[in-house]
Each structure stands twice: as C-alpha cells, then as structure tokens.
C-alpha cells in the first residue's frame, strides 16, 4: 500500500516548510503497521490552503487525499492506507474512512479509463 506524504507542507511558509512531513514520517516510524506501507515523500499534493496533506494511492485505484492533518493522525492515516489497499477501486464508498479523517477528506481522484 502506498502512502503519499507532502514534503513541503506548509508549502508557502519557508520557515516551517517540510515540518509536517518530517513529523508525520517520524510518528509513523514509531508505529508498527500490520501491513507494510510504501511511503512516498512527494513534493506537494495540491491541498496547500489546509496544510498537512497526505494521500493514499495504489495502481489503478482512486487517489484519496486528506488535508489539515497533524502527526497525531499517524495511526488513522495508516489505517486508511490499509483499508484503501484492501478495497478494489480505492473509492471511499468501498472502504471505511477512519472517523478521525472523515472531515479531512478533500479529494478523490478517479483513475478514469476509456469509455466502454
């Protein structure tokens, strides 16, 4: 399962840019997830106005983004990644978004394939 963590949040505050990613990555390292998670520290996930952004993604599955998080959400983020990974399409209708993250869901990017 793939977890994308923004490495620049808060992107437009040069003094603290990157802190969210470092703190969340450290918090995740302190947890031993049941399923191996592939963390991708990506440049940005485009949710900047509400910084503290992650996304769960996977081949052929919807990319689901959460914004406005802090490192205290590490366990919930891992749970979301595992649930997303276990689902077929990745669309949140198919898996249970952890209660802590429900209000932070900010986009669902469908892997749209050709019609028919």
């Amino acid at each position: 399962m793939t977890l994308l963590i923004c490495r620049t949040c808060p992107r437009y505050d040069t003094r603290t840019s990157g802190e969210f990613g470092r703190r969340l990555t450290a918090a995740i390292a302190d947890i031993e997830p049941e399923t191996a998670v592939m963390i991708r520290n990506v440049q940005c996930l485009g949710g900047c106005p509400d910084d503290g952004v992650v996304a769960v993604d996977g081949p052929g599955k919807a990319r689901v983004r959460f914004t406005g998080l802090t490192e205290t959400a590490a366990a919930a983020v891992l749970a979301a990644a595992a649930a997303h990974h276990a689902s077929t399409s990745g669309a949140p209708a198919e898996w249970e978004v952890p209660a802590e993250l429900v209000d932070h869901l900010s986009s669902v990017t469908v892997k749209r394939l050709p019609r028919g």
Partner: protein
C-alpha cells in the same frame, strides 16, 4: 599540459539504459561529462575514479519534461501568471529551474514564458553554470490571435500571415529556441472552448514557415480536432494536449510519426478535474465546463496514439496551485495507469524520446557509451513501482553533464587500485557470463 580527466565510477548498479533492454547489473564509468563505458568497466580505465557504491540501486537517464513552464508561478488562477512583477517572476523562474533538476529532470522543453525573456535568461544562466537547472530549450510568450488568448496579459498577439511572421521574427530576435502558438481555447477560461480553433491555416503556415526558415521549431496549444490536423498539415513540430483528435487526425499523426511529437500535459486535466477544489474550482464546476468529458476523450485518443507508435511524451503545464512545480513525475504514473504504457515504455518516453525532442537523440536520454552523463541513481526499481520517481528522497544522486547536482556523502568508496581491485559488479558480471 593535458587537462586531467575527471572520472566517476558507479559500481554495482542496476543499469536501466532506456534502450528497452531489461535492467542488468554492472558498472558505469563517467569521464568528464560523458559516459565512457557501461556494464563491464576496464579496471585500468577506472583507475583514480571517484567510486559511488550503487549497492544494486537503479542507474538511469535523467528525465525530460516536454511541456515546461518555468514561469508558471503556482498561481491559483490564470491571471496570476501575468500579475507578478518581473523581478519576483525571475526569482520564481530560477526556483523552478532548480526544482526541476531537484526532481530528477535534466531535460526540459519550454512551452511558453509568461514574460518575453524569462525563459531565455534562465536558459543562458543555466548554460553558463550560474544557476542549477536542467538542459533547457527556451520559449517566449505564446502567440495568439485577437480574441483567442487564454491569458491576455502574458500573450503576444498577432493576426494574419504577416502578423505571424513579424511575431515569430521578434521572438527569434530575443533568443528563443522554439515558438508557441496558442491555437485553441481552454475550458477553465469560461469563455474559450477547448474544441474551438482560433488560428487559420494561413496563419499557422506562415508562423511555421518563418520559424523553420530560421531553424526554430514550433509547438502549439492544440486541444481541438481541427487544430491537431492544422498542426500536422503545417508541420507544427510539437503538439500539446491533442485532446479531441479525431479519426482523420489520428491517421495524420500516424502518417507523420517520424517527426511529430505529442505532449498531452495529462496531469493538468486530472488535477483540474479532481483536485482543484482547495483553490476554488470544485469538481462539479470542472465537470460543468467539460473537463470530465475532455479527460475521457483524451485518454481514449492517447491510448490509440500509443498503440499506433506515435511518440507521446510526459510533461505538462506544471506550475498552477493544484499542479505545483516538483510533482512532474506524476505524469509517468498517469502514462502507466491511464494510457496503458508499461513502466518501461513510460520511462523510455521520458528519457530516450526526451533526447529526441531535445534534438540530441544520440547523446541524451540513454545510459550508453558516448552519451552525455545525465544520470539518476534511484533507490528502488521504477519498473516495479513508477511512483518511486515522485519521491525526491529516492533520487539519491542526480548528475548533469558529468557533475553532481545532488550527492549524499554516504556512498563513497576508495578509488579503485587496478593492481588490487575489490570484487566489483563488473567482475561478478563477467564471472556470471563466463
């Protein structure tokens, strides 16, 4: 007195050479700014080299973005590209150049500049070694006809064949490498439809003829079916977007695939449709103006282009708030997941074909002897998971023109002594093959 040769030996790497061959273990020797040998390295040739222990990591070519805008300033709206004062705008461009090479992109083709000389100045500064950045082919402001500008404040207006010739001459005069024509609309404008074409055949022909006469190529913002055909008829070298290519246009592209490039800028469509709400453009609005339909049609067409062997390259329009700089490698994921490219095909399109679109097919985009040493040492296998390339931490080493742009200090090894060489990847490879 001869100038001493600078040597770097990447030892025990998995060589992803962009020829289409499966990665294979071996060593790669760089001498000065070129790749000297690949696979099996003569220990004598490697004497005195700085050694980077690959430990099985992937060594591959630097990447190419075929649709680059240094001056797209991560604005949350189109007008934001035009309102930034030139001083701040130049600083932003310098940061963009650095972000590209930080992201593993060593080749970029400029697809328009928001102010006349921003691209040109950045290219020259990169080439002079004054700032870090990719190899860059610079563009100027995009040319549009009256009433057909996507962002009037950053557009060079021209009408009629004579107007086109004059505009092209002026842009060549400031030093651009290619010319950009903005031929169709863009749905986010709210008024200019993607399926509408604003250029005439005569205007396109005049612009291309004038550019080609001066040895410059032409690229075009061309979303509509008619604009794609107009591009091919008039020998526009690089077609951007091509979302609504129809059957006739597809046949024309295939018949001319030896010279034409398509760079769809796919992430713009994906992110604008699904991920721009944080910046005031919700999915419902994007669907209402047509982005859902365009994405579906574009994917269908681009898959067909891929089946027909038309060169479709990643890269495109990064530099808006929801498609920010530094996320360029997401295009490769789209190519694999949406367009049906294998990871190998996606990487070849971003490397070997990158060398072709940069007009240096015999020296850029491959890990081959004689090629310029633009290399990435990647922690992981991008063929197994293409998203690795989105993670800058996985790009352990970035080299351009034989010089490291990024180099951690943890992988150093003593310079090889030909009389007492340790067991290297080369030796093991030779033993395996014996």
């Amino acid at each position: 007195m001869p100038i001493p040769t600078s040597k770097v030996l990447f030892r025990n790497v998995s060589i992803l050479d962009s020829t289409g061959a499966d990665p294979y273990p071996g060593d790669v020797l760089v001498e000065n700014n070129r790749i000297a040998s690949v696979g099996t390295v003569d220990p004598d040739a490697a004497a005195g080299a700085r050694v980077i222990e690959g430990r099985g990591r992937t060594l591959m070519s630097g990447l190419c973005d075929a649709h680059t805008h240094f001056s797209w300033n991560n604005s949350a709206d189109l007008d934001g590209l035009g309102t930034m004062p030139v001083e701040e705008h130049l600083l932003f461009c310098l940061e963009s150049a650095r972000t590209y090479i930080d992201s593993g992109y060593t080749m970029c083709l400029g697809a328009a500049s928001a102010k006349p000389r921003l691209d040109v100045v950045c290219r020259d500064a990169i080439n002079a070694g004054r700032i870090p950045g990719p190899r860059y082919l610079a563009n100027g402001p995009e040319i549009a006809v009256t009433g057909g500008a996507l962002i009037p404040s950053i557009t060079k207006f021209a009408d009629g064949p004579e107007g086109m010739r004059k505009a092209v001459r002026e842009l060549i005069g400031i030093g651009v490498d290619q010319i950009k024509l903005s031929m169709t609309g863009e749905e986010i404008t709210g008024t200019l439809r993607a399926e509408d074409t604003y250029f005439s055949d005569e205007e396109t022909a005049a612009a291309v003829a004038e550019a080609h006469r001066r040895g410059k190529r032409v690229c075009a913002h061309a979303r509509s079916a008619e604009s794609v055909k107009m591009c091919v008829r008039n020998k526009v070298d690089i077609i951007y977007h091509a979302s609504f290519t129809d059957a006739e246009g597809m046949d024309m592209l295939e018949a001319n695939k030896d010279w034409v490039f398509v760079a769809p800028g796919l992430n713009w469509l994906v992110a604008t449709l699904y991920e721009a709400e944080s910046f005031g453009f919700p999915q419902e609005a994007a669907e209402a103006v047509g982005y859902k339909k365009e994405l579906e049609v574009a994917i269908e067409g681009l898959r067909e282009m891929h089946r027909r062997g038309i060169r479709v390259l990643p890269g495109g329009d990064y530099g808006f708030a929801w498609t920010p700089h530094g996320t360029y490698a997401r295009d490769l994921q789209h190519f694999v997941e949406l367009l049906g490219f294998t990871p190998m095909e996606a990487i070849i399109s971003a490397t070997a074909w990158g060398g072709e679109i940069m007009l240096q097919p015999d020296e850029l985009g491959k890990v081959q002897p004689g090629y310029l040493a633009d290399l990435l040492l990647v922690d992981g296998d991008p063929l197994a998971d293409i998203t690795i390339l989105q993670d800058h931490d996985r790009l352990n080493y970035i080299m351009k023109d034989g010089k490291f742009h990024k180099e951690p200090s943890t992988d150093e090894a003593p310079a090889p002594d030909p009389a007492n060489m340790p067991s290297t990847g080369t030796e093991r490879l030779v033993q395996q093959r014996a």
